[in-house]
């Protein structure tokens, strides 16, 4: 090895650039927008990035990271968000106390996870197809429940303040959505990289057959993973509903592609290309900063999507090309 050190030094350099493509991209967009739009660096704006762009997507992407870590994917996170939102709104309208309604909302989201768990761990359908099916069935169920997709509004008056707390409240000056996101991220990080459950999930993603042959109840862990994913996504449903005080059928799907994007952008941070919570969080941060910065820099709104897409594309290209090079040596 020491003898080869010299000859591989150039690939090593490019590889370390590839490894840090995500951090470099974050730093670059940060500097770029600070220079293009002076308002970008203001405390109020940075806080709004965190609360409006970052918090909710970060929670969804964290959930997605669990599914991808286990070697799968969950296309029905949006469905879990919607079901949670619908259950929450319905219970509040029925006059239930807010804490109970929130619990009901979480349960509504978990129903989606249970359905996925039966399909994936029970029957053994590949996660992509199973959750794609769930997405379609879920959309139809929502339209049936709402007379063809009508939003369910909460009356402007008579909604208890407690309802708005999740979306608009603050605890010691910190907005609740941000606080919840931080808790979810910290919990997910501990769960994924510091617990037995997380180790099994990661091992499943690397080589499921080895997990099975090690005598671990693989199916039980797989089921738990998808239930957990929908449970985390359900939290977003509660916050979203509390923020906008309305349930719009199938609105949760808006998070889906960005959550997948952030999770896979995050994999470029790991030397082995594995999904990881810090990477996911940085990925979400990158997407949020780009979305906000492009808005502030006054670029044509329609070019913003092109810019975001190109950026994601280049981070992925660098990350994957680098990983390919690493696999070759």
């Amino acid at each position: 090895m020491p003898a080869r050190q010299l000859s591989v030094s150039i690939p090593t350099v490019t590889r370390s650039i590839g490894r840090h493509a995500l951090i470099a991209a974050l730093a670059a967009v940060f500097v770029l927008f600070a220079w293009l739009a002076p308002a970008f660096l203001s405390g109020a704006n940075l806080l709004s990035v965190l609360v409006n762009n970052f918090a909710l997507l970060a929670i969804v992407a964290t959930a997605m990271t669990f599914a991808v870590s286990a070697g799968g994917i969950d296309l029905s996170v949006g469905t879990a968000i919607d079901f949670a939102s619908f259950a929450f709104v319905s219970l509040v309208l029925a006059g239930q106390p807010i804490p109970l309604a929130a619990l009901g909302g979480l349960a509504g989201g978990v129903v989606v996870g249970l359905f996925n768990a039966v399909l994936i761990a029970g029957i053994g359908i590949s996660p992509f197809l199973a959750t794609l099916g769930t997405l379609f069935v879920g959309r139809s169920v929502q339209q049936l429940l709402t007379n063809g997709g009508n939003p369910v509004y909460l009356p402007p008056t008579g909604v208890p303040d407690a309802f708005r707390f999740l979306g608009h409240g603050t605890i010691v000056g910190i907005p609740v959505p941000l606080l919840v996101a931080a808790l979810v991220i910290a919990g997910a990080w501990l769960g994924l990289s510091r617990s037995r459950f997380g180790r099994v999930v990661l091992a499943t993603g690397i080589q499921a057959s080895v997990v099975r042959y090690s005598g671990i109840a693989l199916r039980r862990y797989t089921a738990a993973t998808y239930i957990l994913v929908s449970g985390i996504a359900a939290v977003v449903g509660l916050i979203l509903t509390s923020t906008v005080t309305v349930y719009i059928p199938s609105s949760g799907n808006a998070f889906l592609l960005n959550a997948i994007g952030a999770t896979f952008i995050g994999t470029t941070l790991s030397p082995h290309g594995r999904p990881n919570i810090p990477g996911t969080v940085l990925g979400v941060l990158l997407l949020s900063i780009v979305a906000n910065g492009l808005l502030l820099s006054g670029l044509n709104f329609y070019w913003q999507q092109v810019g975001t897409g190109l950026l994601i594309f280049s981070v992925l290209a660098i990350g994957f090309a680098n990983r390919k090079a690493a696999a070759r040596t």
Partner: protein, 350 residues
């Protein structure tokens, strides 16, 4: 799964939840499985025919030449897209996450349609506009191909990123408005052909025939299947695996361009919201494999599944059933089909 796939697999997304295709298959002829596969395939055809019979009995106008022609015509756009996706799935392997998939198809159609409509509105002739629309599709396909085969990004992600860029470009071009367009080609496409059946219906059938002939009945098509299902064996046999995968994405891009032109003729212009076509098209293409003998994706199977969905929507409309049920039925269908195939495979592996 595909241990040495032409692109890098992150972690092992490749590991399916159940079954392990890498395990040696038993050599004795699996009559039980054949019977079960026959039951599934026959079953899905039986369901298809059953649905047709049900609608013919309950909806008086269902079984008329005009109505069937309409369904064919209305299915043309989705059909061409689903066929494009099928080519990618055949060439990339049927594992949807690590294998072939093209999420940029619907956005591709939107951009190609916008390019075509904008050029026609700007007074360009049909020839220029057609070339530009197909060229747009080809370029998008080529970008996907490069991202997958050169940069080594997983198709799911590569095409996801390309989808975002393409959808953005469409917005830039149209400013999110409807671009009306009329030209000789569009008039010819949206007219009625022989038997009072829309020309689009004939286009769909002709296109399917052409692609099916190329994919199912030529050495090229056989090699495409080999590359998708057994990339290592294909490489050992001297096939240029990467070139085939790249070719499948370019072909699918071309399908996006063609679908774009068809959609301009169907809607008399380019409209926004092409992205909504994505998931239904994915489901249609994946569903198509139940209509094939060996439960693999085929062009004719995709046509059948496109028509199945088309007839369902049409029948629901004729019976005044809310068409919102269609997405639920599609979802349930895919779950049923995939559960059945998974259970079959599991039996085989024991």
């Amino acid at each position: 799964m595909l241990v040495d796939a032409p692109y890098y697999i992150p972690g092992s997304l490749a590991e399916p939840a159940a079954g392990n295709p890498q395990e040696p298959r038993n050599d004795r002829p699996a009559y039980g499985r054949q019977a079960a596969a026959l039951a599934l395939r026959g079953g899905s055809l039986a369901v298809f025919i059953g649905v047709l019979v049900f609608f013919s009995v309950t909806a008086p106008f269902f079984l008329t030449v005009g109505n069937i022609g309409n369904v064919l015509g209305q299915s043309a756009i989705a059909g061409v897209l689903a066929i494009g996706l099928t080519i990618v799935v055949i060439g990339g392997g049927s594992n949807v996450v690590t294998g072939g998939i093209d999420l940029s198809l619907a956005a591709n159609m939107g951009l190609s349609a916008a390019v075509y409509a904008t050029l026609v509105q700007a007074g360009q002739g049909d020839a220029v506009a057609i070339m530009a629309a197909l060229g747009t599709g080809l370029v998008i396909g080529a970008v996907n191909a490069a991202a997958v085969t050169l940069a080594g990004i997983v198709p799911l992600l590569a095409t996801l990123a390309v989808m975002n860029v393409v959808a953005g470009l469409e917005l830039v071009l149209t400013q999110n408005t409807v671009v009306p367009a009329s030209s000789e080609l569009l008039a010819a496409l949206s007219a009625s052909g022989p038997l009072g059946i829309p020309v689009l219906a004939y286009v769909l059938l002709g296109f399917t025939l052409l692609v099916a002939a190329a994919v199912q009945f030529t050495p090229l098509g056989l090699r495409l299947y080999a590359v998708g299902e057994f990339p290592q064996a294909a490489r050992a046999a001297g096939l240029p695996v990467k070139a085939f995968v790249a070719g499948s994405f370019i072909a699918s891009g071309l399908c996006g361009g063609i679908a774009g032109i068809l959609s301009v003729s169907f809607l008399s212009g380019s409209t926004t919201g092409a992205g909504d076509m994505l998931l239904p098209v994915v489901v249609t293409a994946l569903l198509g494999s139940v209509f094939s003998r060996r439960l693999v994706p085929t062009i004719t199977g995709t046509l059948l599944s496109t028509l199945f969905v088309g007839f369902l929507i049409n029948g629901f409309q004729l019976l005044n059933i809310s068409s919102t049920l269609v997405s639920g039925v599609q979802g349930l269908l895919i779950l049923l089909v995939v559960s059945a195939t998974t259970l079959l495979r599991r039996q085989e592996n024991i």
